[in-house]
């Protein structure tokens, strides 16, 4: 990066720090949003890998009926930890904390987020939460075995370390709230001159909507978790039917958070898709306002559909059909987005580079996940499919096929901007293709098994499911190989990759108007925005700019 031809002031944020320290301390005490984004990237990827390994072990157990490599109790703790780690440590913080942190200020033309020190504190709170999860594994009592939903009454009766593990979820929620609060304030207060609300890139709209859900929903799980801990410690009685309490109330409060949390997970991914498609189709986004408002609509309606997780819990018929109706309504804004994305590509000049391929994979997998969500959202079919593998397949298609895919899409799209290096396009293409095959092998059989009646969270099964279970397990191995290829490609490229051009994809949003990797305060001077976000007529001007 010590390029003699470039002027001396062209130092990247790697070479210049916000504090007086050097080495590791300059990272641990940094208030630079880009460095904090990278801190999140490293920690979140570490936990993602742990979650993947747990998943592969579970699949291995299921390769044959009966105990194969572990006992039932071990399996119980594995699926709980897989859920807790993937949800609270990977997918909820994933896109907002990594890419939101790194690109929110860049895309709105700001020097940093509104509260840089609070931003660093959020990362530390995340790390503390993660450490608490890890400690809960090794304390006497054993790892938590309740499933990631911590349903009452079992979560009160279980003798495993439930209290510590769910307190960790409370702490992680606090980190999430502070990040959300920071981003909302940043969007309101720090946009560059000329960047009105409708000139913001759509990724910003999605991060903004996500931040609102983080603020509105997370406190509810906070208080719910505290009450479960109180219940375990003192026997307060609020959720205990023996003392007059109501376990169903717990389910309501849990899902009042955890359903909107689904949109915390998927909205930022939709934002990234809205960035990648125009860039690689060389065409402005179709229906900018419709996409922007559909993010807000999802954030709003998504708050009102929680009880569709509880159709078989004994809630009233009136409540059931209202929640079913609302569930169908919340599918509409997602549909609006999908149609707009496809319409953007129509007559575009498509350049199928790896980020675009990830998006293609996303659209297929997410659509399958979304449509099977409607099967579960309608009352009659849900009675049959509730708590079966069908549900497992559905949410893995939405979460992993949706958000997980775009996690990689975003990584491959912004990698040159973050590190100033380029990865191997060939291996990236291979990994997308392998991912798509492995994913469908791994999860599609679960739709069929669920439809046939295979319940979720069982470590044993009837012999007739064997073939489908084996296909799924082999899929999990292929998925493991794909992950190795992805991370090997990226890590190798960070160290030894070729230097990337400033704007390898020809993007026009503000992050492409500065150096790769960007300088410490992002721009030499705060840019003035004169174009719509996806106006590709800027590309020619930008070439002259960089000369």
């Amino acid at each position: 990066m010590a390029n003699g031809t470039v002027a001396l002031e062209e130092k990247s944020f790697y070479e210049e720090s916000t504090n007086k320290y050097s080495g590791i301390l300059s990272w641990l005490l940094t208030t630079d949003h880009k460095r904090i984004g990278l801190l999140y990237l490293v920690t979140i990827c570490a936990f993602f890998i742990v979650g993947v390994i747990l998943g592969i072990l579970m699949r291995l157990e299921l390769i044959a009926p009966g105990p194969t490599i572990m006992e039932a109790q071990t399996y119980n703790t594995l699926f709980t930890l897989h859920g807790v780690i993937m949800i609270f440590l990977f997918i909820i913080p994933g896109l907002p904390a990594i890419f939101g942190n790194f690109f929110l200020p860049l895309q709105i033309g700001a020097k940093d987020v509104a509260f840089p020190r609070l931003n660093l504190l959020s990362w530390y709170i995340y790390v503390i939460g993660a450490i608490l999860v890890l400690i809960s594994l090794f304390l006497p009592g054993g790892p938590i075995d309740t499933g990631w939903t911590f349903y009452i009454p079992y979560s009160v009766r279980s003798t495993t370390n439930v209290s510590l593990a769910i307190f960790a979820a409370f702490v992680l929620g606090f980190s999430s709230i502070l990040t959300g609060l920071n981003f909302i304030t940043t969007v309101h207060r720090m946009r560059a001159p000329g960047m009105g609300w409708f000139r913001m890139p759509l990724f910003i709209w999605s991060i903004y909507s996500t931040a609102w859900i983080q603020i509105i929903a997370t406190p509810v799980i906070g208080i719910t978790i505290l009450l479960v801990i109180m219940e375990r410690a003192f026997g307060v009685g609020i959720f205990d039917p023996a003392l007059g309490g109501d376990p169903i109330l717990y389910q309501h409060l849990f899902w009042i958070y955890s359903h909107p949390a689904v949109y915390i997970m998927v909205l930022p991914a939709m934002g990234v898709v809205s960035e990648i498609i125009p860039t690689f189709a060389r065409r402005t986004i179709f229906g900018y306002k419709a996409i922007a408002f559909s993010s807000l609509a999802i954030a709003f309606v998504g708050y009102l559909v929680w009880a569709h997780h509880m159709f078989t819990s004994g809630i009233s018929d009136t409540a059931r059909w209202i929640f079913s109706l609302l569930t169908f309504i919340v599918a509409l804004p997602s549909g609006v987005k999908v149609f707009n994305w496809v319409a953007t590509m129509y007559k575009g000049s498509i350049d199928p580079k790896p980020p675009f391929l990830w998006v293609m994979s996303f659209i297929v997998l997410f659509s399958i996940g979304g449509l099977t969500g409607l099967v579960l959202g309608s009352l009659a079919t849900d009675i049959h499919l509730h708590d079966t593998y069908f549900v497992v397949a559905h949410f893995h298609y939405v979460m992993f096929g949706g958000t997980g895919t775009i996690f990689f899409g975003a990584l491959f799209y912004w990698f040159p901007k973050m590190f100033g290096k380029m990865y191997s396009i060939k291996w990236a293409n291979i990994s997308v293709a392998l991912f798509f095959i492995a994913f469908n092998m791994l999860y599609f059989p679960k739709f069929i098994m669920g439809y046939m009646g295979m319940p979720r969270r069982y470590f044993d099964y009837l012999p007739e499911f064997t073939n489908l279970q084996v296909i799924s397990t082999v899929g999990s191995w292929l998925m493991g190989i794909t992950m190795i290829i992805i991370f090997a490609n990226l890590i190798y490229s960070v160290k030894k990759g070729k230097k990337s051009p400033e704007n390898p994809w020809g993007g026009v949003t503000l992050e492409w108007h500065t150096a790769s990797p960007p300088p410490l305060e992002n721009f030499h001077e705060i840019p003035t925005v004169t174009h719509e976000p996806y106006d590709f007529s800027q590309l020619e001007e930008m070439k002259h700019e960089s000369k």
């Binding site: 509104a114 609070l118 560059a192 003192f234 609020i238 003392l243 309490g245």
Partner: protein
Amino acid sequence: MNQSSHAPAVEQHAHRDDIGAKMGMWLFLFTELLLFGGMFLMYAYYRFQYPDQFKIAAMELSTSMGTLNTIILLTSSLTVAIAITALRKGNRFLALLNLFVTIVFALAFMVNKLFEWSAKISHGIYPGSEDILNKPNGEILFYGLYYVMTGLHGLHVIIGVVILSFMFVFIYKGSVNKDNFMKLENSGLYWHLVDLIWIFLFPLFYLIH
């Protein structure tokens, strides 16, 4: 962006945006409201299920103690507001004095609460005790909610005392001053929230018989 700020150029990286700081604080207070909102929801649900037993249980709480604490907390909200206005007008001494009085009121509130709780506990009324398990379900839940909600509120009072003490030191040292009072104003906002929550807790537990 706050381009016209006259903040001294000591730290170049730090930018100052008072409106942004206040907006962040309001968002945080909003999450606090939702945290307690979950509890109020539970209170409403169980009160609806066990109206008579809630009434009987509420009779056992001392209305006069509750009233005293309400007066203390309301007055402390006044003194913190005076402290902010005094600082803005440049009267540092008056600001420090009122902040000190606020902290004293907060501690008085907690002492009062301590007496109240220990009286209940010495009568065997606390979650999981033998006496309480012999009571009907509605009363168990009333006291469960009473301890959890006033306990969580008390925790917020303690956090408030810590924050206000820091503000006292900052004003004393001069880093929070006439031109840079946002930290104090945000602390005041937090303190008003603590007060506001109590204003709802008070009638729900002490007044509705």
